[in-house]
Symmetry: C2
Subunit: 377 residues, 2 copies
C-alpha cells in the first residue's frame, strides 16, 4: 500500500534538514515541534490559538483517550482532530508509555501490557493489535507502534530482550493495521547501548513503516548520553521518511537534535512548566513567581512579539500567578508555545539559508546569557 | 466640577431606556452588563477576548486589588485597565462588601470598616476616605462610594441606622474625591423597607454624585421583594445620570431590571457558574457535567453563534469538564459572557425599536422552555 504520508526534502545544511511532511490533514513544515494534547486538548489552549501560532500538528494520547472518553466515542465524532475542533493533523502515541508509567499495576509480557486504569482501577490489556485498533479509531494521521520504553537503568541483557520484543510487537502492529489513511511509525529502542541501538534500528527499519522514531530517551540518562544515542539512532534511519525524536525536549536539546536531522519533536516542558509559572525566553528560563518581578514592567521576553509579550508585563503575570488565576496558565502556555514555534521557524529558515550552525551557536549563547533568572523551571 | 462621565439617552420604550455612557476610556452602549474582573482579570478570559465580544466596561474590585498586588503598584502601572491590558473602561466597587463578607474579623463603626485581610490576617481599616483614595489609585472611570450593604434580615431600626450612616459616608466620599477624571457613584440602601428605600434615595440623590446605584439587593431576599425594591429605588433616581443595579443577576432578572430603566449590571453568575460546568443558553441553563451530554453532538446553545458554539460539541465540553481541563472553564466562561452580551444587545435593539415588552416576553418564554435541562447551575 502507498504511504498515507510523504516527506519532501526542501533544503539541508550539513545533517540538518528542512522539508514538508504531507499528511491527510495538511502539510507540516519541518523540523516541527508538536504541542502535547494528552486528552484531546493542549492544556489551557483553544485549538484556533494553536492554529494561529502556526501549529499544524498536535500530539495526542491513545492511553488517556481510550480510558476517557473512549476510542469509540472519539471515532463517532470523526477522530481526535474533529472532536477537539483542530483543523490540522494529529499524531497519537500508542499508550504504552502511560500504561507502564501511570497505571497502578502492570505486568508486561509477550502478549502486551496488563494494567489497571489510573482513573477507576479497572483491569485492561494493551496489545500491539489493540494499540493500533485504538489509534485507528482515534483517526490520527500518524500512529505509533506499541513499544516497550526500556528503562535507563536496564542492563544490557534486559535492554536487548526489550528491544527484541519491541521488534516483534512492531511486526504485529503492522499486521494489525487496516487503515489506508493513517501512517504508522516504528520506534527504535536499545537503551544506552550503542550496539543495541544499531540492532534495534536495523530491525525496525527493515519493516514497512511510514516513519521512524527514536524512543527510550529523556528518561533520566545524562544529556550527553541522550545526544549520543539520538545521533547514533538517526544515522540508521532512512532519509526518505520523517524522523521523530520522542519526548525531547529543552530548546537546547531541540537545537542539537535538529542539527542531527530530526524532523519532529514533542515535549510537555513548554505547557507543563507554564502552569508552574515557568517561562521560556530567548535569554533563558524565568520563573514568574519570583519577587524580583513584582514591579517589572518588561514583557516575559523583550525579543518576543507574541500576544502575551505585546500585552502583559511580568508584574501583571506574576500577580495572576500568585493569585491563582487561570489566565496565568493560559498566558504562560501561549507564550511558551509561541517561543517553541518561533524557534522551529527560525531553525527552518537557517537551514534553508545554510546558516544553521551559526544560528544555533548564536541562539545557544543568548539562551545561556544572564538575563534569564536561571531558575530551573 | 464637570462630571467626568455623561449619559446620553438615545431611545426609550415605556420605562426601559437605551443610551450611551461616555467615559474617559470610551463609550458604553447601555443597558450594559459588566463582567466581573475581581483581581484585574475576568477569570479565565483574556482582555482582548472581552473586547472582541463587545465588552467595553469591566468591573474590578478595590478590596482585592488593595490587598494584592496593592493600589500603589496598580497606580504605577497606569491603573487597572492598563495593568490588565484592557482597552475599555473600568468601574471599581468600594471594597466595603468584601471587607464585610470575606474578611475574617470585622467591626463596622462610624469611622469605617475594621477587618483582617483574608490573605494574611493583617489588620486593616477601610474608611470612606481610604475607599476613594484606593479607587483613585486604581484609576477606574467610575468609583463607588463606600456603603454598608444592609443585611436582608435587618429590622427596620437597624436598616434605618445603616442607611443613615451610608449617607454620611457618601458625603465623606464626595469630600475625599480629588480626581477630576473619575466619576463617583452614590448607592441607595434601605433594605426591604419601602419607606427606607425612599429615604435613602432622597438623601443620596441630593448629593453631587455622577451616577447612582441601587445596592443591598440579591442578598437573600425573595425575587419579588428584590424586584419591588429595585423598582421603587429607580423611581427616585434622576433620569440624566446612569443608574446601576448592583449584583443582579440572572437573565430573567436582567430583563426585568432593563424594563425598569436600569442601565448597568454586574453579576458573577456567568463566570462563576461556568467554572462549575454551568452554561446559560437561550433555552435555559444546562449543566455540562450531566451524563446525558456524553454523546451529544449539539453545541451548548443551538441559537448561539459564539466561538464555542460554532466549534465545540456538548460531548467535547463535557469531556473537558470531567477531565478537569482548563479549556472547560475557558469555553463555558466565554460562551456565558457572549450570551449575556448578546442578551444586552438584543435588549438595546428592542428598546430602540420600541418592542421591548414583546422581546422580553418572547425571550422569557424561550428561557423557560424545556430544552435546557433545568439544572440549577
Amino acid at each position: 500500500m502507498e504511504s498515507p504520508i510523504k516527506y519532501e526534502l526542501h533544503a539541508s545544511d550539513e545533517s540538518a534538514r528542512m522539508g514538508r511532511l504531507l499528511t491527510p490533514h495538511g502539510a507540516i513544515t519541518t523540523p516541527a515541534f508538536m504541542p502535547v494534547g494528552t486528552r484531546a486538548t493542549v492544556k489551557a489552549m483553544a485549538p484556533d490559538e494553536l492554529w494561529g501560532m502556526g501549529y499544524r500538528l498536535v500530539l495526542s494520547n491513545a492511553y488517556h483517550l481510550a480510558l476517557r472518553p473512549g476510542a469509540d466515542l472519539v471515532a463517532d465524532f470523526g477522530g481526535v482532530a474533529s472532536f477537539m475542533g483542530f483543523k490540522g493533523a494529529i499524531l497519537t502515541d500508542s499508550g504504552g508509555f502511560q500504561a507502564m508509567s501511570l497505571a497502578k499495576i502492570n505486568s508486561i509480557s509477550e502478549e502486551g501490557i496488563r494494567f489497571r486504569s489510573h482513573i477507576d482501577g479497572s483491569p485492561l490489556m494493551l496489545t500491539p493489535e489493540s494499540a493500533v485498533d485504538i489509534q485507528q479509531k482515534l483517526g490520527s494521521d500518524m500512529m505509533m507502534a506499541l513499544d516497550e520504553c526500556t528503562p535507563y537503568l536496564a542492563d544490557h541483557a534486559r535492554a536487548k530482550a526489550s528491544l527484541e520484543m519491541t521488534a516483534r510487537w512492531a511486526e504485529r502492529c503492522l499486521a494489525a493495521r487496516t487503515s489506508e489513511t493513517q501512517a504508522l511509525f516504528g520506534i527504535v529502542q536499545g537503551g544506552v547501548y550503542p550496539d543495541l541501538r544499531r540492532m534495534s534500528a536495523s530491525q525496525i527499519t527493515s519493516l514497512g513503516f511510514d516513519g521512524f522514531a527514536t524512543g527510550g530517551l529523556s528518561v533520566g540518562e545524562p544529556r550527553d548520553v541522550m545526544r549520543e544515542m539520538a545521533e547514533l539512532s538517526i544515522s540508521m534511519l532512512p532519509m526518505d521518511r520523517p524522523r521523530y525524536l520522542m519526548g525531547v525536549g529543552t530548546p537546547e536539546d531541540l537545537l542539537a537534535a535538529v542539527a542531527m536531522g530530526y524532523d519532529m519533536f514533542d515535549c510537555v516542558l513548554p505547557t507543563r512548566n507554564a502552569r508552574n509559572g515557568g517561562a521560556f525566553t530567548s535569554q533563558g528560563k524565568l520563573s514568574i513567581k519570583r519577587a524580583a518581578y513584582q514591579r517589572d514592567e518588561r514583557p516575559l521576553d523583550e525579543r518576543c512579539d507574541c500576544r502575551i509579550c505585546t500585552t502583559h508585563s511580568r508584574a501583571y503575570l506574576r500577580h495572576l500567578y500568585i493569585s491563582g488565576e487561570i489566565l496565568a496558565a493560559r498566558a504562560l502556555t501561549e507564550h511558551n508555545l509561541y517561543f517553541y514555534g518561533h524557534l522551529m521557524r527560525e531553525a527552518q529558515a537557517a537551514i534553508a539559508s545554510r546558516t544553521y550552525r551559526s544560528f544555533a551557536r548564536h541562539t545557544l549563547d543568548l539562551l545561556g546569557s544572564s538575563a534569564g533568572d536561571g531558575t530551573d523551571v
